[in-house]
């Protein structure tokens, strides 16, 4: 096996993760040990002296080894907008950011609404370290008119269905989608937005939009859609996953629904947990324009509570790369979306863990265990005989975000120049290891 160099992906022959803190919240595991990996499999977890070991050693003292992280909401842009991102650059960004798996949204050009496109995405990722799990469209062409051939799409490897970027506006259509997708045990991931209230808006509607004179997107445009979606999910008894929750109202509605046993799960994104609409005062769309928009401090605090009590199941990034031309312009002309794959772990560790609000096992639940569970992926175990699907991170390392160094083609990040405490170090998957910079 070649030497482990930073910023390289190599095939594993024999690799020893020496002195790692192994954390696996699903199996209540928290111990410091050495992990011996051969090709794609964990051989042994015990105390293995490195001086007599014949193979590559990665010193993991002070590092955490966790089940591979999964970002269940990314936009890889391929096919169609390869100038913004490709499956290859998106996966490189995922690896650099500490993710072994991503679920990619179908709003490509053309949209992922038929078998050949689902297969295309999987083929593109076949030899990459990152597992790419395509989410297929709910409706053909994302038009909100006819259902896609979900049976065939599920069989081809679609892990969920979504028209993300847009909601399924017609409630009857949405009901049918849930019922139909439910036959294949696939969740519907719904971008919950009541368009008649939101259309034409560029930021959260509230005091700041009043100050700035920018047309607002009222929080109720999300709340109403979330309420509709959980009501329909309850009525038909099929699972709905609420994408990128941003409002206190959504948290309240989801919490109430869960308490009654409605099959609903939810995700939020690091930016909603860290920033508020006050940031829009910079008029910088490259950093602060996304949909749903950054909300108020009350919303931010409600989201943190929702994470804490399990109302929100997962942290995803809604990684949305854009070209500089789509972002370096007037605020109301700029495209929606920011990237997140390479800042997710750093931002979460810095803003949620460093201050003592959240413990590491909870973060692993939110970023690895739960997203995989929601998408129906095999659970990861860290034990002898299991496949090595691992994320290694350093909860203490300080580093400064420099978008020019990103693997992603996108530079649209609100974290530009920020110094984080906590960093992804390496990922292991499919018999490969990538050691970050």
């Amino acid at each position: 096996m070649p030497k482990l160099n930073s910023d390289q992906t190599v095939h594993i022959e024999k690799l020893l993760l020496k002195g790692a803190r192994i954390l696996d919240s699903a199996h209540k595991l928290d111990e410091t040990a050495d992990i011996l990996i051969q090709k794609d499999t964990i051989q042994e977890i015990s105390s293995i002296p490195s001086d007599t070991f014949k193979g590559t050693v990665l010193d993991c003292a002070g590092l955490v080894v966790a089940p591979g992280f999964c970002d269940m909401h990314v936009h890889l842009r391929e096919p169609g907008r390869e100038d913004k991102e490709t499956i290859e650059t998106g996966c490189a960004a995922a690896a650099a950011g500490g993710f072994t798996a991503v679920a990619c949204m179908p709003n490509t050009k053309p949209p992922l609404d038929n078998r050949s496109l689902i297969e295309f995405v999987q083929e593109r990722a076949e030899y990459l370290l990152t597992d790419v799990h395509p989410v297929a469209a709910i409706t053909k062409g994302l038009k909100g008119e006819e259902l896609t051939e979900m049976g065939e799409l599920a069989e081809a490897g679609a892990v969920a269905f979504s028209d993300d970027g847009r909601p399924v506006f017609d409630s009857d259509q949405f009901r049918r989608a849930l019922e139909y997708a439910g036959m294949f045990n696939r969740p519907i991931i719904e971008h919950s937005e009541e368009l008649s209230l939101a259309e034409g808006g560029h930021m959260n509607e509230g005091f700041v939009s009043t100050q700035l004179g920018l047309k607002g997107i009222p929080p109720i445009s999300e709340d109403i859609a979330v309420a509709r979606n959980v009501l329909i999910a309850e009525y038909v008894g099929k699972p709905v996953h609420i994408a990128h929750v941003s409002t206190a109202g959504s948290v309240r509605i989801i919490r109430e629904a869960k308490s009654r046993g409605v099959p609903v799960t939810a995700e939020t994104c690091p930016h909603y947990l860290i920033f508020t609409d006050e940031m829009v005062k910079t008029f910088d769309p490259n950093k602060y324009k996304m949909n749903p928009p950054l909300r108020t401090e009350a919303d931010r605090l409600a989201l943190l509570d929702g994470l804490k009590d399990g109302t929100i199941d997962a942290i995803a990034t809604d990684h949305a790369p854009h070209t500089i031309d789509d972002k370096d312009c007037e605020f109301d002309v700029a495209a929606f979306g920011i990237i997140g794959l390479e800042t997710s772990i750093g931002s979460v560790l810095s803003h949620l863990v460093q201050n003592g609000k959240f413990k590491l096992p909870k973060i692993i639940e939110l970023m690895s265990v739960n997203p995989r569970k929601i998408l129906g992926l095999d659970p990861i175990e860290i034990k002898a005989g299991a496949r090595a699907n691992l994320t290694v991170f350093d909860p203490k390392a300080e580093w400064t975000v420099d978008p020019t160094q990103f693997k992603s083609k996108g530079r649209n990040t609100p974290f530009d120049g920020e110094t984080f405490t906590g960093k992804a170090v390496a990922v292991l998957n499919k018999g490969m290891v990538y050691l970050g910079r």
């Binding site: 009043t210 100050q211 700035l212 004179g213 607002g216 008029f283 370096d328 007037e330 605020f331």
Partner: protein, 315 residues
């Protein structure tokens, strides 16, 4: 004394001292305007670009006059003649300006923050001549100047802004400027045209024009954009006039002497009646004259000009 900023992007963060400096300086320039040859060499050799991405004859002419009276070289770039329509981006426009070594850019644009964008991307001093529904600081300053001329003090003065507050940059800049100067501000208009949490800006809401007139010292009446009716924000021009029109009958019921302002252009017979607009209480034409003086003062001060002593005038 000099201004604290090299740009005028809005009044939200402009101090009372700076506003006072601008208004005092404008008084000196107004005297220049009253001379037989109303021109001074103050900005000779300086170049100003008037970048108008939205049609606005009045504001543009006012700026152009101010620039000419100060002997600046000015060029106009307006949307109708611009290359922007052919797909040139705002960013490219900014870059072109940068390579033309311009000293001042006066910008009018439909996007909130457009002036901020330029300030971040070019070296020139930027004057915001209106960015979407965000701010229109020179309009608010000329309104303040006009009020100072007609009222004893801005402090404690009750100014009610009437009309479409939501989409109005004039309203926002006036609210900021008036509150900074110690005035009280009210807003009056259909609930559908009041922005969310407008009270948090420091303005009192008057649901009825009669109540506003009863309590106000000043009415600043905004132009109602007729196309808002089509968007379902109010049912008809007729009903708007019935509920919020500033008519002679309503004005006659004022308890105190009332000053009538309007930033123009007026929809006579809709938001304001002609016999109110042309009455002795109206200072609308004075606003227009003061617009030139205020804009001269801003250009002069942003160029690094200092406060002028009492009675001092430009050679």
């Amino acid at each position: 004394m000099q201004l604290q900023s090299r740009h005028l992007l809005g009044l939200e963060n402009v101090t009372r001292d700076d506003i006072t400096l601008i208004l005092d300086t404008a008084v000196s320039f107004k005297r220049v305007l009253e001379r037989p040859i109303p021109k001074v060499p103050t900005l000779r050799g300086k170049t100003v670009v008037n970048l108008f991405f939205e049609p606005s004859t009045r504001t543009r002419i006012s700026f152009e006059l101010a620039e000419k009276r100060l002997s600046a070289d000015s060029v106009n770039f307006s949307a109708s003649s611009s290359s922007l329509k052919k797909g040139e981006t705002f960013k490219d426009t900014a870059r072109n300006i940068e390579s033309m070594m311009i000293d001042f850019v006066v910008i009018r644009h439909s996007s909130p923050g457009a002036a901020h964008y330029l300030a971040n991307n070019v070296k020139a001093s930027i004057i915001n001549a209106g960015d979407g529904a965000h701010e229109h600081p020179t309009q608010a300053l000329l309104d303040l100047m006009t009020l100072r001329e007609n009222r004893e003090s801005l402090k404690g003065l009750k100014v009610v802004i009437v009309g479409d507050i939501e989409h109005s940059r004039v309203a926002r800049s006036n609210i900021y400027g008036l509150l900074t100067m110690g005035a009280e501000v009210g807003v009056c208009g259909p609930s559908t045209l009041l922005p969310r949490e407008v009270e948090r800006l420091g303005a009192t809401i008057y649901p009825h024009i009669e109540d506003a007139i009863a309590e106000a010292d000043v009415l600043n009446i905004l132009r109602i954009q007729l196309e808002r009716q089509g968007k379902g924000l109010f049912p008809s021009i007729r009903e708007y006039r019935n509920l919020f029109g500033v008519t002679r009958e309503r004005v006659e019921r004022a308890h105190k002497p009332l000053t009538i302002m309007h930033p123009g252009p007026m929809n006579r017979g809709v938001e304001i009646d002609s016999d109110v607009a042309d009455s002795d209480a109206s200072v609308i034409l004075q606003q227009v004259t003061n617009g030139v003086a205020v804009r001269m003062a801003i250009l002069y001060l942003l160029a690094g000009g200092k406060a002028m002593a009492e009675g001092e005038e430009h050679a």
